[in-house]
Every structure is written in structure tokens, then in C-alpha cells.
Amino acid sequence: MLPECPASFFLCDPFGAVRGAIYALLSAILPEPLPIVIVTALAIAMVTTLIAIIVMSQVWAERRIVGYMQGRLGPNRVGPGGTLQAIADAIKLLTKEPLIPREADKVVFLLAPLVVVVPSLMVWSVIPWGPGLSVTDLNIGVLYVLALGALPTIGILMAGWSSGNKYAVLGGMRAAAQLISYEIPMVLVVMIPVLLAGTMALRGIVEEQTDLWFVLALPFGPIAFVLFLVSGIAEVNRSPFDLPEAESEIVAGFHTEYSGMGFALFFLAEYANSFAVSAMATTLFLGGWLGPFLPPFIWFFLKTYLVFFVLVWVRSTLPRVRYDQLMHLAWKVALPAALITVGLTAVQLSLNVVPGTAPR
Amino acid sequence: MSTVADSAWLIPVPTLAAFLLIALGARRSPAASGWLTVGAVFISFVLSLNVLYETLAGVRIEHAYAWLPVPGIPANLQAALSLGFQVDPLTATMLVVVSSVSLLVQLYSVGYMHGDRGYARFFASMALFTTAMLGVVLGNNFLAIYIAWELVGLCSYLLIGHWHERPEAAAAAKKAFLVTRLGDFGFLLGILLLFVETGTLEVSVITQMAVGGQLRDPVLTVGVLLVFCGAVGKSAQFPLHVWLPDAMEGPTPVSALIHAATMVAAGVYLMARTFPILEHSPAALTVVAVIGGGTAFFAATMGLISRDIKRVLAYSTMSQLGYMMLAIGVGAMSAGMFHLFNHAFFKALLFLGAGSVIHLVGTNDMFEMGGLRHRRPVAFLTMTVAALSLAGLFPLSGFWSKDEILVAVATTQHLGDVGRTLLYLLALATVFLTAFYMFRAIYLIYGGRYRGHAPDHPEPWTMTVPLLVLLVPTIVSGFWGSPLLGNAFATFMEGHAAPTAFRLDIALVSTGIALAGIYLAWMMYGGGKTESGAYATKQLRPLYTLLDNRYYVDHLYNWIAGRLVLGIAWLAARFDSLVVDGAVNGIGAAVVGLGSELRRVQTGQVQTYAWALFAGAITLAAVAALPLILGARR
């Protein structure tokens, strides 16, 4: 483990160092409110750029990995090894003609992708990339992430409803039912790291894992981690829980009628969410940026992409579940398991028998 | 010092867990349910033994916990509503009795109930019952005791009515529940009275107040007598005894556990627990002694003529419980508890033995048995020893405790000469009757030739082993309180040297009387004869009829419930329909007239009502805010 980063140690925390330098520079020439505003705006701009890069890298990685697992090549024409394929796709989507069905409720139809994508991007503002390295560190960080995770449901329902297409309505209702069903075990299971760390601030949770990653907090850490991953996959509608967009049953679900820009936004939201789930898994259970030798943010990305790899792996391995199986899993397996795990963790804490944490 | 006794509250936990596990899913596997319960009770039993061991070494514990610390409730009320447990000789002894008998009975049930449709339900109820009973024994205040006490009542209802598809069983279960509830109502009133008077529910605190003289007559006497009501109901003492014979409709292991060894003993235990309070009220002591002595004799007479083996044992139980109450009533609490301790074992043994032969022949009627000593030698041997013990023959356990009670009655300071002599004679008569009816049963079941037609079939080991195990305490448990060991039990229980010494003359008299009873039984029924019994019945027809109708107490209750109550109800109904209804109808007619005019206001539209509601509220608000509104205008 690296010792606490000195603010000026560039290799240890390059972004923090740069931000400190900019802030110092600005405060020398501007009155107080402005430097912090500018630095924050810069951070937001940086994270926004990061989103684009990360999502493109994810799309490329996913298609290549799935291709490899299915015994084919995957995209390999645009750019070296197909790395620029995502950019080509994006250009294609943006230049397509946006179609709006005649039966559609136009305003709602156009707003829906925004309602889905904005909360997905807002989550990124609290992801702790490294010590002291996030746009902001809310002391209710976990709750903030969960609350934002609830918002896209409305957007999906809006998209389904306003399309004026029965497959879209069905897809929207499926998605909403799925999201609120898995939200409950998700909320419960996220309480376990919160209980263990004693804080809801994401940075605080990572720092509490210095001695022991919560995934290893026996006996409930591993169970909670698995439950979190399962609920997380369901929350972002990825295979094997991608029923809302099951082609063979309901065309493309709630975004059947979307093309061009609208579709691009749903696509962006899906990958932004996948990354957010991976990042939250890393933060809550895998010790976030903690790790030896390498700079913290490298560790963070390593772990997050590892989790993302697991998501891809699951996608190309497991068949889609049936709708009743999905609900059965949520209400009869995940929810009781989460309840019991949280309860027993609380008991464990009150008896002070958690391995690796100091008695409180 | 950390001891097992410190964690005595854990003792009911395994059985409770067993109950929950069965209810939550283990019920799908009957075998798992049965062995789960047995295992749980075994844990409780081992813990109880540890607690008894530590108590013998001098450990005494009392803990209370506030179970719902809610701000805003006065502190004294919170303290009163605490739950807690204590460990003292009384509790430790009862823990061992309850858990050991429960363990053996449940082991026996694994075989006896095999193939029953409600097998898992049966064990769930048994586990909960054991939990409740252990709770009664552990509870240190009236609230805890009362909660567990009612849970015992509930479980007895479930278990007596186990075969609820049989109307008699369902009726018996209801009867047991309602009759005991009657007593429990008195118990609750007593608790409330003592609470109002003392401001606490903790038995030890109330005891101190009784000793210190803050708690006086008449509240003291009325309070303990009301508490005694609960004991009368649970322990089936006159006049609330009517449920116990009917309760034999339940499966035999239930009878063994509830009606012989533990639940009915809860009443005696309660009186023993409150004895330090009770002994400050001579009047209450007299009532307890008279009811106990009376029930002892009265129940024994009813046992003389019953054809049903389990009913004989039930009457015997009532009679013996009367004995224990008598002992407590004459101020010999330790003698009563000692008898309770011994009785639990040999009565459980008798019931289980009876269950063994009932299981074999498929009937409870002793006149259809006979000659079963060849088919069930173990049951024959063990039941005979237990019957000898119950009759009070040296050196079996019954001898020592019965004798101690007789000595206590003969030498008590609490009653006048006449009362003492009467109760003593009553007790001796009961000894005779007890010996007679027990050996009548033994001869009828095991003597002579088999009079029925059921085929022989082997018995599972789980039913045989408990009989043999119970034989051990039946023989030796009495020595704990015998003069050979210096009355160790009484010393342990009361904390000082025993007040009642062994008296050879009384021992000889009672042994002689018991032998006479056995001899008479042999004369009448020896070798499986049934004719002389029939002859006696014919000669003493009126007495037989009286006994067969159980002194008409049930009839009296039916008459009270059926005629008196219904008659009063009829009168009330007439009054209601003529006077009250007349007035109501008159008012009603007036309202209908008015309403038919006013009904147009009712649009049926919920929003109209809501509007009226808000408009009214806003008007009120406007009136209240009028000064402010005027002020604003100014």
C-alpha cells in the first residue's frame, strides 16, 4: 500500500497535483469564489471527456471480447485493431435522420432519452477515481448514486409510452418492473459496505478498506458482492437480464422507435451505467483505488475494467432468463438473501466480530 | 464469575428455535421435525443440569432487562414492564424436571406418533410448549410468568386438540382452554392488584414488601388468592378441575407431558414461587390447604370407577396435585415441591407405559385389556414399580415425599386441631384410594388373560427406552429428600434445615394403609377378575352413579351455562327488544324522516365531501387568523 499521497507528489496523484497547481495559480489572480468554481467546472469538463473515452473503449472491448468468446473476430477494420470503430458508429448514428412516429407524443418522445442519460452521467460526479480525486465527495454519496439509479426508470417509461407502439409500452413496463424489483435488493446490499465503513461517503468507504476489502469481510462480504453484481446487471438491463429489449419477443423494447441521436443517447446511457456499476462494485467492495506500487487511479481502472470484463463474460455465457424467472430471482431469492445478509452483518457488527475492522 | 446460570435465559432458546424451524420449513420432513425437537430439548436438558449443578454449589442469580426503552414512559412503569429471569433452587429443580421429562416424552413420541398426519405440527407444538414451560419457570416477574403461562395454555389447546378432526378432541381442547382461562383471569386480576398496590411486578420485590409489612391484608390475601385462581385452573384443582379428564382426548405423550409432569405442575410451581408472600396470609394458606386436601380425596374417588386407563391416571394426577397444594397450604413448600419432583417422573412413566399398551391394543378401556404382561414386559415392570411408588411404598420415591407431606399435615402450626385432624384423615384416606385404584388398573391391564382381539406387534425402541430411563428416577429420586441424606432437598429448597422430620409412626401407618389398598385391589381384581368389580358396582349403585357423573360438577356447569345464563340472556333480550328497541326505533323513525329531507346534500361524490371538509377547515383557520388578517390590512 502506498502511504498517504503528498499533494505535490505528481506520480502518486497527478490529477490532484495538477488541480492543486491550477487552484493555486487562479487564487493568486482572482477573488475567492471564482477559483473554486473554475476548478470544479474544469473537473466536470474532464469527467465528461472521460465519459466519451471510456464508453468508446468499453464498446470496443466488449465487441472484441464477445467476438473472441464466440470464435469470431469482432470489429477490426477502423483504426488499429478496430479501436476507432466506436467513433465511426457514433458518426453514423449522429448523421442518421431522426424519425418520430406519427402516433408519438413528440415532446415526451424527445425528452425521454435525456431523462435516461442525464442521471447516468450525474453518477460520475461522485466516483472516487483516487484519493481526493472526484468532482465532489458527498457525505451521502451512496444514497446519491442509488437515487440517481432510480431516475432512468421514468425515462424508460416515457420512451415506451410516447412511442405509440405496443411493443415499446410492454418493453417500458418490463424495464420499469425489473428496475424497481432489483432496486430493493440493491439498496439493501449496498447497506453492507455502509454498515462496515460507518459512512455513506464513497471516499470514506474506500479508506475504511485499507485493512480489508469488504468483499473479503467474511462471511457476508462475498455474498453481498455477488448480490450486488447480480442486481447491478439487472439494473443496467444487461444480458442475461436484458428482457426489456429482448429482440425475439418485443422487437427492441422501449427504444424500438428510436433512431439516430435518440438511440445514441440510450446507448450511451447503457454503457455509462455499466461503467458506473463496475466502478461502484470496485468502490464498495474491491477497495477502490487502494493497491500497492501503481498509482491509485491506475488501480481503480484496473479493478473497474476487471469487473466490466466479468459483465461481458456473463453476457456471452448465460442465456436470457424468462420473465417469471427474473421476478422469482428478485423477490424470492435476492431480496430475502439481501435482508438476511444485512441483518446478520448488523448483528456481527454489534458483536464486534467482523474480521479486519477495528471494533467501534 | 461467569456461569452457565448467568446465561440461563438461553435454556428455552433451542426449543423455540426448533419450533420456528419446523414452522418455517422443516415441517416438510416429519422425521427431521421430530429429531430436531428431541435434539433441542436435549440441549436445554444439558444446560438445565448445569444450572442445577451450579445452584447446588450456591449460585443465585436474578437479572432484569428493560425490553422496550421508550422515552416518555415513566421510569417506574418501564422498570415494572421489564422482563427477566432468576436462578434459584426452585427454578433449577423445575428446569431439570421440565426438560428431562420433555426430553423423554418427545423421544417416546418419535415412535408413538409415527405415521400421524400432523407429525410435524405435533412436534412444533411440543417444542413451543416446552419453551413456554421453561419460560414460566425462569421468569422472575409476574409479567414474564404470565406471558409464558398463557403460552402454555395456548400450547395445551393445540396439543389436546391435536386430532382436531375428532369432535371430542376439539371440544376437550376448547374446554381446557376456556376453563383454564377462567382461572387465568383471576391470576391477571391478582397481578394487577399486586401491581397497583406495590408498583412492581417482580416477585422478589413483592416478597420483600410482604416480609417487611408494607403489603398487608386484605390486599395481600385477596391478591394471593387471585393468583391462586390461576394455579387452580392450571393444576386442575376443584372447582376448575373439569377440563383435565376430558383432556385425555389428546395423544398419550401429550397427556404424559402436559397433564402429568409439567403443565399442571405449573400451578403448584406458581404457588411455590409465591409461597414467601402466601405464608404471610393465614387465611389464604387455609384456603389452599382445604382446596388441595379436598381435591386430593375427591379426585381419588372418581378414579375408583373409571374404565379408561388414561382417565384413571388423570384423576390420580389431580389427586396428587391436591396433595402438593395441601403441602403448600400447611406451610411445607419444600414437601410439595419434593412431591412434584418425584411425581413428575413416576407419573410420566405411568402415562408412557399406558401409552405403550394403548398403542398395542388400540383402546383406552382397561376391561378390554388383560394379560398384557407377556406382550409388554417392560411396560409391565416399569408401570408396576411406578404404581408402587405412587402408592407410597418404601423405598420408592413416592414414599419419601408422600410421607413428608403427611408429617407436615400432622404437625402443621397453621390450622386448628380440628382442621389438622380432618385434613390428615383425608390425606390418609387418599393414600388408601390411590393404592386401590392404581392396582386395580395394574391387575386389569396386566393380570389374567387378554380380553381383546388386537394382534401383537413390536414396539419401536424410542418408546421402550424412555420407560427404562424413567424407571431410574422413579426408584432413586426420593433419596434426595430422605432422612438418609438428611433431608437434603428441603435444605436446598428452603435454604435452611428442614422443618419436618421423618416420623416412623406415620410412615408405618401410611404404608399399612397403602398395603391394605393393594390387598383390596388384589381381592377384587387379582388375576384379571372383573366380576367382583361388577358386583360392587351393582351393590353400590347410587354411589357409582354419583362418581360416574363426576359428582355432577360438569352438569352443574352446563346448567349454569345452559339455563341460568341463557335465562338471564332471555330476560335481557326481552327487555332489549321491547324497551330499548322501542326507544331506538322511535328515535330511528324520527331520524329517517329528517334524513329523507337532508339526504339531498349527499351527492355521493367524494370530492364534494372533501371540498366541504377543506372549506370548513379553512373557515376555522380564517377565524383563528382573523386578528392577523385584520392586522395585515391595517
Partner: protein, 111 residues
Amino acid sequence: MPDALPPIYPITLQHGLVLGAALFAIGMAGALSKRNAITVLMAIEVMLNGVIVTFVAFARHAPTADLTGQVFAIFIMTVAAAEAAVGLAIVIAVYRVRRTVQVDAADTLRG
């Protein structure tokens, strides 16, 4: 230097209370005038939100920092959740029987 500030801020207790009252009043207007039972339920949620805003404003400006107002806000949310669940269940049950969710169609109680 708070004393030198223009009166428009900081936001005072009265701002929160007026906002709460406004939400409550608008919600009430909706609850009393809309015909679709589900809209009525939604309007009631707005009224409840008005109440919560009032509580939170009081909590913000209370002299003690024990946040009683926020605790009560949580209780109101609990009640709101329960109300929405039961209300919608009733609406759906009514719809199943009468094929309508108009509140003025349910007037069996008219005198």
C-alpha cells in the same frame, strides 16, 4: 457580513413556508377538481410534499439541531408510500369492476 445583505437572501423560514403553502394549495385544487382517480392521488402527493417542505423549512431554521422536522418528513414519506400503494390498489380494483377510474362515476353512496 449577513447584516449588509439585500433582503432577498439568505432564504428565510417564511420563504419555505410560503412555498409549502403554495404546493399544498395547488395540490388541493387538483384533488378537488380532477376526475381521474389517479390524478387525484397525484394531487394528494403534491399536498403531502407541501407539508414536508414546511417541516424541512422548520427543521432548517429551528434553534436546536435535532432535525425533528426531517424525521417527521420521513414519516410523511412512509405514509405517502402506503397511501399510494393502497390508493392505486383501490383504483385498479374499482377499474376492474366498473371499467372506469372517474371519481364521479363512483357515486353509489348518493342519497
